[in-house]
Amino acid sequence: MIRFVLRRLLAAIPIGVIVTLGVFALVFAMPGDPLRELAGDKPIPAAVLAAKRAQFHLDEPFLVQYLLSMKDILTGNFGTTFAGADIADQLRLRIPVTLKLTLLANAVQWTLGLIFGIYAGFKRNGLIDRSLLLVTLVLLAVPGLVAYFAAQFVFGVQLKWFPVSGVLEGFPNSYLLPALVIGVLGFAGLARLMRTSIVETVNADFVKTARAKGLGEQRVLWRHILPNALLPVVTFIGLDLAGMFGGAIITESIFNLPGLGQFMFQAIKLKEGGVVVLLSTLAFLSFIVINLLVDLLYGILDPRVRHV
């Protein structure tokens, strides 16, 4: 088990280098000069420009810029953004915002997804199952952008059930609406996967055997069907959780939540390579950790793939 974890962590190092280098190269390759972007088209005095260039290493060649950025990240010396914000401060303020949003949204998504998926799987072709198929089909077809703005307008502006945007009302009020929308949109895929997985497992031979040897329905359900049916779902949840960060870029912008997603959006717009790589590294690390946890959980659920 420990060897497995270590091996996975070691393998993450080269992947991390490739990811950060790739992201940095993409930002570097974006057309336009970052400082020009910052300045709009107003001429900046040469002295100010030179000072800024030196401060952000923009006068160095690509690889040197990358290595300097990585050095700053690894030594925890994050510096400031082009606009002058202290990056460490920003992270301290923003990470909780994104965590709150992501966890709340996931809670909504898992609750809805698992409950409806399991129920529909057992009561196949019932009313709930059929409505679920229809509802999830519609949800899967709605683009997030549209749903976010529509929800903001209907529930925030018109009905005033939730604040329109911002975090002034704190947790959970300010996060409820975006989390609900993300959760409801996201639950469709999860519920469908859960349902299909249950349906497949219910017909498996080992379930028939369990029933044949006289086990009660409850025991068959909890001990034999669910653990097996959950296997693909756990993988899905792991990927989904790690991918939430990407979705946060849009959600946080629309709901004006000052989290990592908004930070990323701003950094990309200003071509702040260092910040983009820092945030990508964070996303990458959370991806690695979450997937490691998923794989360990997998082993607990399914002894066949247990890592001894």
Binding site: V48, G166, S253
Partner: protein, 553 residues
């Protein structure tokens, strides 16, 4: 160069109606008209900032500010906050367009407008109680003019004698070192309340530039350690910080009772930063903000969304189609006039929305603006064709560059392209690029074909349109235009101390530019704002819409 309070200049692909630039050094312009302010209507703000009878919540569609220091700030959001916390030397009277003294008692040029004497009113203080003296101005300006300080309004001082000594050439990649010289030789304190500014060359418009909020004085303790005061600025204006201001917080201001000049109505003002302009608009509709700029996506619907609660004003800026002087095919002025007359400005303005056809190179809210300055700006397809024939035609397709950063860039480019294609019979193609990339290509004279451009002045003078864009050394002369005759007329205007005579000379320069037509005037846009029922924003023909100066009902 830097700019003036009501307006910051920018040369952008599209001059939008709202503060689009999120962290721009530059920004936006359009003067007070861009002051997106909003006021809490007190009923559902939920923020605790809307209490009190005369409190205003001003929403700014931009990323939260990181510091408040007007001398290191030339973006619209920062200047908006500076307008509440700092007071300028002079300002534009919103009713007459004339210059009014604020901190200054008098601003007097010498015979040829080269040395200016500024006398301060006695009795003004900073918010920390220290008296405001000529030394505060001289030292604050010297600090900013020093290149190694790396403050954004450094460029403003380049007109003053001695600037070069504080800003030596730095080799590429080197960090500018503090120079031995610490003071501008042209800046001299005479007594406690008087100082003089000697310019490198005569400049009759210098008095107007003094209304820029980016020239605010900083008190001595702030000058000593500016970083320590990033988030607790000490101003000399009508409002001061009402509460601690931490990263990401709204900026909450309360009226400062030590301010002795005319102050706005509000007792308390909150600036709230909402980067997404559509979200800010929704906040207004939910009643949590009282004043908001209308984003371009809502131009067609805002009058229905908030009946009787909107104001518009002509945007202080102008929009052009820019022709490249470095492309031989565009050399002939007749060809340029042909392009201009092939454009149906009325149809184009209707497409853009909240816009009017423009027939001048300067903005309509300027003293010295002539509505029909341009003789070649009326739509006349037959005349256009004839001019094109006289110019010997045009070889190859006409390329129109548009910014992909703007959602509407391609639509507007195709609208203009169709007019050129149909009315001149030319082949047209389109190239979409990032706005900053187009600027960069134009700067290096590599851009192929036409581009859109816009300009908002830094100080309210028609000179601030003509010098940057048409003088051969102008710092926004992106068409690469040069005409010695025009440079000479501008220099005469700069040395002319009589304002009316100076304007006559600048108008001559505009006429020369219109004959050569490096830029084709297109449209003048308006900005729209929504305000809650409890306030009435100040709307001025000269300085646009201001929520800071709103009156309460």
């Amino acid at each position: 160069m830097a700019l003036d309070p009501p307006a910051e200049r920018r040369f952008a692909e599209e001059v939008g109606p709202t503060v689009r630039r999120l962290t721009g050094v530059v920004g936006v312009a359009l003067g007070l008209s861009l002051v997106l302010a909003s006021c809490g209507d007190g009923k559902s703000s939920g923020s605790g900032s809307g209490d009190g009878a005369r409190s205003t919540v001003i929403a700014i569609a931009a990323e939260p500010l990181e510091y408040i220091n007007p001398l290191n700030e030339n973006g619209s959001p920062g200047i908006q906050v500076a307008m509440a916390m700092f007071a300028p030397l002079v300002t534009t009277d919103p009713n007459t367009g004339k210059l009014l003294n604020v901190m200054a008692d008098s601003v007097t040029p010498d015979k040829n407008s080269q040395t200016w004497t500024i006398k301060l009113k006695p009795g003004n203080t900073f918010q920390n109680g220290q008296p405001l003296t000529a030394k505060d101005y001289v030292d604050s300006w010297n600090l900013t003019a020093q290149g190694s300080t790396a403050w954004k309004n450094n460029g403003f001082f380049s007109k003053i004698e001695g600037y070069d000594a504080l800003n030596p050439e730095t080799p590429d990649g080197a960090t500018p070192k503090p120079t031995a010289v610490k003071a501008l030789s042209g800046l001299k304190q005479v007594d406690d309340l008087t100082f003089t500014v000697k310019l490198k060359v005569p400049f009759s418009q210098f008095g107007l530039t003094l209304q820029y909020f980016g020239l605010a004085p900083l008190p001595e303790e702030v000058r000593k350690d500016p970083d320590a005061y990033k988030r607790k600025p000490i101003g000399n204006g009508p409002y001061k910080l009402a509460a601690d201001w931490n990263a990401g917080d709204d900026i909450k201001l309360a009226k400062w009772d030590g301010y002795k000049q005319t102050a706005p109505d509000a007792d308390a003002i909150t600036f709230r930063f909402i980067p997404n302009a559509d979200t800010a608009y929704n906040e207004f509709q939910a009643g949590t903000v009282d004043f908001v700029g209308v984003p371009s996506t809502k131009i067609k619907s805002f009058k229905d969304d908030a009946p009787d609660q909107w104001v518009t004003s002509v945007s202080s800026g102008a929009n052009y189609l820019t022709l490249p002087a470095w492309d031989e095919r565009f050399k002939n002025p007749k060809l340029r006039h042909a392009f201009s007359m092939a454009i149906d400005r009325k149809a184009y303005a209707d497409l853009v929305g909240l816009a009017e056809p423009a027939k001048a190179l300067v903005a309509p809210d300027m003293v010295g603006y002539r509505a029909d300055a341009c003789k070649y700006c009326d739509f006349d397809a037959a005349k256009a064709k004839q001019l094109l024939a006289e110019a010997g035609g045009f070889s190859g397709p006409v390329n129109i560059n548009y910014s992909t950063t703007s959602a509407t860039g391609q639509i507007f480019a195709e609208a203009l392209g169709n007019m050129i294609r149909q009315n001149l019979g030319l082949e047209v193609k389109y190239t979409g690029k990032q706005g900053s990339e187009i600027t960069e290509l134009a700067d290096t004279r590599k851009l192929d074909g036409l581009r859109f451009s816009g300009w908002g002045h830094d100080y309210p003078s028609i000179e601030d349109y003509l010098t940057p864009m048409f003088k051969s050394t102008g710092d926004a002369n992106f068409s690469g235009y040069s005409n010695p005759k025009l440079d000479q007329v501008l220099a005469q205007g700069d040395a002319q101390p009589d304002p009316d005579a100076a304007i006559k000379l600048y108008q001559q320069a505009e006429d020369i530019a219109l004959e050569d037509m490096p830029l084709i005037p297109l449209i003048t846009k308006s900005d729209a704002f929504l305000h809650s029922a409890k306030i009435e924003p100040r709307v001025s023909k000269y300085v646009g819409v201001s929520a800071l100066w709103a009156t309460f009902k």
